[in-house]
Subunit: 269 residues, 2 copies
């Protein structure tokens, strides 16, 4: 099935290079600039830079316990990113794509000499005052975190390869958010400073990754239906990020009701 | 894979009928009464009868808009129950099991003459003042609802058949909750009364179903490891129910922040 899907994309590409194909709805493809602007509009509306949990974080209004809960739950997401990227690699016969995309797995898992993103996130967990083993074992992670992360792995495993690639495009917006975050975390929670190496690494990795992914999506989304599907893939990914923060906010900020079995900070929030 | 798994269970059953097998941890199986008491203890701790959203509902403190959001999101869960049960049917070669379990699909999808549970839930949606089409199309359902429901379908599709059956055991506790709910809904929200047929049907269906499932689990969980796995399956299912109410509570009660794209009640909550 995966090979057929990939082959079908290649065939449609060679036909559609000759003439823009109308979508099933009969609408012509969006011009490139308008198509790209669509991603930016979706990010402005739905990316988690606007989530109340992040706003509180950047205003210095979170407690150490709330930041512990964030680091612990977000670690689970980070730890599944290479699995997500391997699922995307597994779906294409395009070796040039795989050679470009595999960088993401190395960035997260490390190259055996320098620490990767997962190790760096464990250092952030430790900077909050938790043991790295708690994150590695996953004890106390919110069930909603697991469900949202699995939804991401499922998405890239079951939708078209093009949609899977497009779902990564939240990285178009992450450098700006991370730059602000590092600044505010150092200001408001100076004790977190030793744990911020993950973010400084992502400041160069994320734009490289999103530049490649956006160029790929622009090149391969030929019909209006394909363009719409990639816009929807970005919406779906934004929902997945947002839902994780909703669950954190509910459990640890307002009304601060952790579900049974969830992590409880030692210090009162 | 599924057949192998089923066959393996059959083989181990025939061996273990002869003598109680120790689990990998070396612990002997729990006596039947203690094993069953474990399910009750888990339900008391984790079943969603204790969730703050339900407490508010039963105290008459929810608005019509909040009940609309509940009916809309819970419809999505209801609509996936026959899919979940079909996945369980698909995993066993035991025809007697399938003959007993298929009742659940008929209960939800209907028998072609009497309305099934899904149709009855649509009438509840209508009693809240929403159009049934909104539920059927799924517009505005919380992403977290979809993720939790998918986690349930995934659970019964990927864990052992025994764990899949055990995950249904929340039905051991549902009659008591539903009896209270119908009473309180009629008292506090009399305009909902025409939509309560789902619950009155479940008052007899749920105990029948849980009696069968509990007997099946008691008969087939031979080792302590299998017993532990079925207890954990019930915990996992309780988490799935709880997470759906957490998401509703967050979006529509406190802090009442629906994620982008989610249903917004016409009347202020």
């Amino acid at each position: 099935m995966l090979r057929l899907s990939s082959a079908r994309l290649s065939v449609s590409r060679s036909i559609e290079t000759l003439m823009p194909a109308p979508s099933a709805s009969g609408q012509p493809p969006l011009p490139e600039a308008e198509f790209i602007a669509g991603f930016h509009a979706i990010g402005e509306e739905r990316y988690h830079h606007k989530h109340p949990f992040h706003l509180l974080m950047h205003e210095g209004k979170l407690t150490r316990g709330q930041l512990q809960a964030w680091a612990l739950n977000r670690y689970y997401y980070q730890s599944r990113i290479p699995i997500k990227d391997a699922a995307i690699l597994a779906r294409t016969e395009d070796a040039a794509f795989r050679m470009a995309w595999r960088k993401r797995i190395i960035d997260h898992d490390g190259d055996g000499t320098k620490p990767g993103g997962i190790e760096k996130w464990l250092r952030l967990v430790e900077a909050t005052g938790l043991q790295r083993e708690q994150a590695e074992k996953g004890g106390g992670i919110l069930p909603a975190t697991r469900y949202a992360v699995q939804a991401y792995v499922d998405f890239v495993s079951t939708r078209t390869h093009l949609e899977a690639v497009a779902s990564s495009l939240t990285e178009m917006f992450s450098k700006k958010l991370i730059t602000l975050r590092v600044d505010r975390l150092k200001e408001h929670y100076p004790w977190l400073t030793p744990g911020l190496e993950y973010f400084t690494g992502r400041m160069t990795q994320a734009p490289e990754d999103s530049d490649f992914a956006l160029a790929y999506v622009v090149k391969h989304a030929h019909t209006r239906a394909q363009q719409d599907a990639t816009h929807n893939a970005l919406r779906a990914k934004c929902d997945i990020l947002w839902a994780q923060l909703d669950a954190l906010h509910h459990a640890y900020v307002t009304p601060a009701q952790p579900p049974p079995g969830a992590f409880i900070p030692l210090t009162a929030p």
